[in-house]
Amino acid sequence: MYTILVCDDDRDIVAALKIYLSAEGYEVLPAYTGKEALDLLDEHTVHLALMDIMMPVMDGIMATAKLREKTNIPIILLTAKSEDTDKVLGLTIGADDYVTKPFNPMEVVARVKSQLRRYTMLGSLQAEQQKKPKVITIGGVTLDDESKSVTVDGDPVTLTPTEYSILKLLMQNPGQVFSSAQIYAAVWKEDAYGNDSTVAVHIRHLREKIEITPAEPRYVKVVWGQGYKFEKGGAAT
């Protein structure tokens, strides 16, 4: 049983989130200003915080900064602001993930689950990785080359052999950008035919399987006009 702090000045949103999260079996602590959130944190054991940015008394950025001084729990920002600079500011100040309004409730729940798993399973995964050299773990994604299995935040994912090969190639070289032609050559072992978007289609499928929101991927990222890469360290942007 995990406790989640939900902080938003709009009471209806807090209430709605409380319904969804309770349905998943989490205990929810509602707060309506940044100040309240910090007070609640002192009184209770909290495992994750959902934080709005634009709030009266103390805004979400400030609250996140203060919160980080005390604990290491995952913080997911909820905000109406969608500019890149706001996202970067939020993540720099110590947030782990970011959901823009208007959000899909299922997406928020999925992100909460993902963050909680990573928060709680981090230690055991590291130990596991040391034992098995053929296991690659980046962020929440774990690829076991012996059992040919992939898990995301602990949940097993079913991939086709092609998707698996592409993911393996990308995960073996995190941060490196591969063009479609390079991926084609490495996975299909033959030269790419110029007008083919096969690789792009496979990557799209792969993203749908391992990402919460495929349009805004956390792991398998599209570098437009260059190629694809697996985000180094699996940053949650």
Partner: protein
Amino acid sequence: MKKRYQAGVKLLAALVLAVSLLVVSFGGVVTVYGLSIGALSGQSVTETGYVQTLAMCGPGGNGYYGQSIADMKDYYRYSNSDVPYENQQMTVLKSEYAPQRSNVRVRMVSVNSNGEMTGTLSTLGGDWVDENCILVSSTSYEQSNGQPARIDVGFDRAFSVEDDALGRYLTGYRFVHGVTSMGLLPGAAAAAVLSVLLGLYLLLAAGHRANETEQDGIRLRFFDRWPVILLGVLLLVAYCAFQLIWEGFNYTYTAPAYTTVDAAEVMVSYPAYGIDFLLTLTAVLIWAFVLVCFFVLRSLTVRIKAHRLWRTTLTFYICNPIYLFAKRKREQYHEQKTVQMVRSIEQAVDASFQETKPDERDKDTGFVLVLDGDKAKETVHGFAQKAQDAARQVADKARAFEWEGSGIQRVLGRVKSVCGYIWRSLCKMASSMSIMWTGMLWGGCIIAAFWIVGVASGSFEVGVFVTLLAIGSLVGLAWVLSQLSRLIEGAKHLSEGDLSYKIDTAHLHGPFRRNADMLNRISSGCAVEVERRMKSEHLKTELLTNVSHDIKTPLTSIINYVDLLKKTDPQPKEAREYADVLERQSNRLKKLLEDLIEASKASTGNITVELAPTDAAELLRQAVGEYSERLTAQSLETVLRIGGESCTITADGRLLWRVFDNLLGNVVKYAMPGTRVYLDLTEQGGQSSIVVKNISREALNIDTDELMERFVRGDASRATEGSGLGLSIARSLTECMGGRFELSVDGDLFKVTLRFPMHPHQKETT
């Protein structure tokens, strides 16, 4: 308006011009002659005037007066070199200078302090009889005893001679005096002003018809079609004829200022005619010459107005046939070459057709007959390949053929290209040169020409004057040009949109300064206006973004609670349907809101663009990959055609994806299911173009501009999802990246063309 150019008015003006020119000529001739004989300088009709006139004319001569003049010259020479102070010296002079028979009288007299004669000291050439002698000149000097004295020189009238020249002089004098007293000179001055005005009017009116409309051209008379050279010859002939007679007259009657010929001699050489006749004749000659000049000037003016001056020059008559001949030859050559090429292509095509296997051809018609689809493709492909190869060979041959041209042609071609290069460089230099240098060059040339003419033709004084004038003009010109160039510089900045540029008025003066002030006011006015617009536009975007953010929060609640409503268990069937509608519409609202923010940001350029080399081919593949499911769901087939291996353009990959996101989103929404979508990538001339083509589901009977406008879509399409901002966003984003966005609708074919500059590095390598 054009009534002033009526033929009657013009004829009348021409007649009045002729008459007034005649008056001017006559007045001018009379004036020059009158001045030369002193008839206009207020002297009375005396022999003194005549004698003085003759005395100025130098030595020599016939008759008695001629003798007297020679004597006087001799005397003056003596007295200048050795001034006779005393009686003794006068005696010496007497002994050395002893004219045999002369009417010249010289006396030396003593004078008092008032200049009055007190007594005669000595005489020469005979006694000085006061009532007979005419005093010509007197020289003051001092005697050895300090007393003032004077030497007088004069003529003795009693020493009478028969002199025809004197008679003629008096006739001329009376004639000039008579006509000038009739008001000739003021009349001539008035006529001169009238002539100038009429001449200008006639030049302006030349070539215009009486009742022409604005579109009518300049009418050329038959003599306006004569070669220019003919006009030149006419002018030359008129000038020579005039010069002959004018010089003769000049030589005889008005020469004293320039010639040293004895006037007395000349007087005798026109015995048969009166001076009045000669003056009138000269005036008529000048008049005729001026009329011819005016005629030539008028004809030239008409030609310039009709832009026919060049076409009537001798150079044109000579060069044009040569040019036409060369042109015809060239055309013939090219035609021949083209025919040869076409024939070769035909042959090549025939040959490649022959090469096609007989079993693939129809026996009767000889055409390629293939039943199997793949085979057909292969055959046609092979055939096309062969034809292409043949065409290339022919093109190579044609190139070689061109080089096989004669040596002269090659040399001529080379000369032409070199000349063209020089000419282009000169033009480029001239156009890049500032007004300062161009102006100084032209002005300097003109001033230098005037200076040379002035110095070459004038006396020393004229030379100095002309030189000073030239220097002054150059300095003035430089000043005016420097002022002007400042103004031009300012105007240039203004026209290029640099509103912050201000012309420095510290060194500008007068009208230039006023002009600069006006320009500065325009630029500051514009700058303020632009600033205001920018601010207002920015505020608008800001407002839109903020309002959108504020809308987002309630929208989040709506979406969440609609979802919860759907999950609430016991409810009537209708309620579920209503919840579905709510969900659909709130999602649509969400999409609209996002598009609205993006459109407002993109259209105001309020977006960060990071231009970098981007592989357009890769991006196209990625975009098609992203959309493959959605396209397949609409049973749309994608045809991706990429010219060349890779195509690196300068763009922001992330924004370019947003462009394609919108374009492909549109395709999914509006394309006719079951058709093909074409994406072509081509590069040409440092530009890469991406074309997206699809067949619209609905009839596209609206023009492209309307299509582009926000929220304007075919009514039938309104039911489908989306905001209709897609195209607008795509265009704004493309333009933010420095690309061009073109939209065209041809029937139901919907076509978007994106043009981006190639990345410079790529350009070098290709």
